[in-house]
């Protein structure tokens, strides 16, 4: 069974640009979570999508947004990039909104110069 996949692996952008990150959950999973892993700050919850709806968001500004498609894949958009947005962005999927277990993808390394 294929795990969570994310693309691209690496992304380099300049300050002020927009970045789009993609995630495909494990087959059959309907929930997708996004986390930011910045150096020295651990993993911080960003967004949670379940069955196409945004269910919860963490303490991040509105320029962090996303969506979930009918096939449950998800996209994270970061607008007006700032240097401190440089981080590893991790996507995790869960069987449904009531499940505890979350399975992570390999992440997308975003570098803002």
């Amino acid at each position: 069974e294929a795990g969570v996949t994310q693309s691209p692996t690496h992304l380099i952008k300049t300050r002020g640009q927009q970045a789009t990150l993609r995630c495909s959950p494990i087959s059959g999973h309907t929930s997708v979570y996004w986390y930011q892993q910045a150096l020295g700050l651990g993993l911080q919850f960003l967004l949670w999508y379940d069955e196409g709806e945004e269910r919860n968001r963490g303490n991040f500004p509105p320029r962090f947004s996303g969506r979930q498609f009918p096939n449950y894949s998800s996209e994270l958009n970061v607008n007006a990039l700032e240097l401190e947005d440089s981080a590893l962005y991790l996507c995790a999927s869960s069987p449904d909104g009531s499940s505890y277990e979350q399975y992570f993808g390999p992440g997308t390394r975003l570098t803002v110069t």
Binding site: V4, S31, Y33, Y35, G42, L43, Q44, F45, W48, D50, R55, N56, G58, L90, A92, G97, S98, Y100, E101, Q102, Y103, F104, G105, P106, G107
Partner: protein, 116 residues
């Protein structure tokens, strides 16, 4: 507000030793406590998890001890091997069906090095 505090930040043990990582939480509504293992360049992998109704859980060489009254839980790696060298994260969450709040709150991570 950091709701899950993890210690130590790093740990070095000899092969066969028992690294112990501790976590403390504040929110008594948490009801699920997983541990994740992360190798460089990889995403975190779910290792083992515990619910508050048990005090200990073992899976292979990994053991979680849970102290509900103290709001603390810990990971023990028995007979540690060099291949166990990784960063370990504790986390906590509460399960609310279809409600906002179903997210993992992570500790800061512990880098474990097992020397041959």
């Amino acid at each position: 507000q950091q709701q899950v505090k993890q210690s130590p930040q790093s740990l070095i043990v000899q092969k066969g030793g028992i690294p112990i990582i501790n976590c403390a939480y504040e929110n008594t509504a948490f009801d699920y406590f997983p541990w994740y293992q992360q190798f460089p360049g990889k995403g975190p992998a779910l290792l083992i998890a515990i619910r508050p109704d048990v005090s200990e859980k073992k899976e292979g060489r990994f053991t979680i001890s849970f102290n509900k009254s103290a709001k603390q839980f810990s990971l023990h790696i028995m007979d540690s091997q060099p291949g166990d060298s990784a960063t370990y994260f504790c986390a906590a969450s509460r399960n609310l069906i279809k409600a906002a709040g179903n997210k993992l709150t992570f500790g800061g991570g512990t880098r474990v090095l097992v020397k041959p």
